[in-house]
């Protein structure tokens, strides 16, 4: 399915989708409240069947946190980018998608470890790369560590 047809279809599924022009892949931003249902449908609907989540990244923006999901369909061969914003930076929360794409389990743990994004209903949300007693979330823009970080 090409990007226009895909976007047309997705617009019938949910209200309030935002897209970005001139992006490499089709970019769709879905409100956090609809994220889980929307992702579930993206994977399980015959027309989209995005079954392969190849990248999940957290991003720290000044006002909010964002999680970016790169998706590909092994059946149709099309790709898209799904994004969702958290409500503020203080206690960023999003629903987990690891019941939809099992690979998200580890990727979400990494996003929690590095950005402090809490994924609701995640079965085992713990630090992944850092030690359990680490303080702070290093990939946040305001993170300070005078011992381990060298400022030039």
């Amino acid at each position: 399915m090409n990007n226009e047809a895909l976007l047309q279809l997705l617009n019938t599924w949910a209200e309030g989708l935002e897209t970005e022009e001139n992006a490499q892949y089709l970019n769709v931003r879905v409100p956090a409240a609809q994220l889980h249902d929307f992702a579930f449908r993206l994977k399980n609907d015959e027309a989209t069947s995005f079954d392969y989540l190849f990248c999940l990244s957290g991003v720290d923006w000044p006002e909010y946190m964002e999680v970016v999901y790169h998706l590909e369909s092994t059946k149709h061969g099309h790709c898209m980018v799904l994004k969702s914003r958290t409500d503020g930076r203080e206690d960023p929360r999003l629903d987990t998608v690891c019941d939809i794409w099992p690979t998200a389990d580890a990727h979400e743990r990494e996003a929690f470890d590095m950005f402090g994004i809490r994924f609701n209903n995640h079965p085992d949300l713990r630090r992944l790369l850092l030690t359990d007693d680490w303080e702070g979330y290093p990939m946040r823009k305001d993170y300070k560590d005078e011992i381990n970080m060298i400022e030039l």
Binding site: F54, S57, V81, H107
Partner: protein, 377 residues
Amino acid sequence: MSDQLDLAPATDLLTSQEYFVNMGPQHPSTHGVLRLVLTIDGEIIRKVEPHIGYIHRSIEKMCEKDTYRQIVHLTDRMDYLSCHINNEAVCLAVEQALQIEVPERVKVIRTIVDELTRLASHQLWWGVMGMDLGAITSFLYGFRDREMINDIFEETCGARLTMNYNVPGGLMFDIHPNFQKRTKDFVEHFKTKLPEYDQLLSDNPIFRARTEGIGYMSKEDAIAYGVTGPSGRASGFACDVRKRHPYGMYSQVEFKEILMTDGDCFARYKARILEMWESLRIIEQLIDNIPEGEFQAPTKQVIKLPKGEFYQRVETARGDFGVYIISDGNKSPYRLKFRSPGFSNLFVLDLVARGSKLADLVAIMSTFDYVMPDIDR
């Protein structure tokens, strides 16, 4: 006297209990510093929990302070066995963002170097795989042949590990005058040696008994867990980036995407052996046809990417490697994410290893070909 002895009934003595065992972080067959917390019942694995981060250097955070030219040289510290391919991923992302068309000569050389890197990685994997299962000879064979590729790279770019040859816009310098001859010599040499690999391990009854039917992964699981590279293709997941999203010269050369259906350790092993033949085929098609021309497209000294998001995928020796750059228009990225294939491949281990014997875990890990710096980043 005897009636005071309170002996436990025989059945209680024979019941076993689940217990934890740490495998690693310094276990030789973990291929780096990986700790696996195993829940085992006798010899049977009930659960595998990977603990990673021992070699985490926060490369993504470092990238936010570095220029795009510097970032290239961090990527070969991740998967050091696919160094040239990782470097190329960043270069391609930058070239895509700046819409630079690199000369044909660069594309051909990059593709040859990629395939040599893949061969060297698979040779090392093959040697280590045999050693993990108790066959020291294979290690020596693998390293003997890898040495020839290392010599070619040493002459080309001056290093034997953590090599750098790709830069945004092209190559650091042109190929060495000996490059073509030595590569052709290597291809001829390795074509006679690759059948030896089959004789030594593939057809070895002990080796086959330890790999056939062990560590099965279905195609659905491979897709769901994002297991790519030869490991995914051994389960039938057609995930070769060189075929799906071609870059370099891959759309113009003939090669087969190795797909298998067995999904066990032996299939993953065989997939890599067959992939080596395909790599040789690609090199043979290109090595005599390197077009004349520049080895670099003109680029500015300080590279600033336009505002936007850029994603570049390449096929490393371990699978689908991705670079995701969010640029705010400055000389450093606002956010840079590396999608490393090993990371996704690692977390399927629990699913694959459950129910198998402890000794088989070594075989399973070996066929997934983990490189820890690639996973920890």
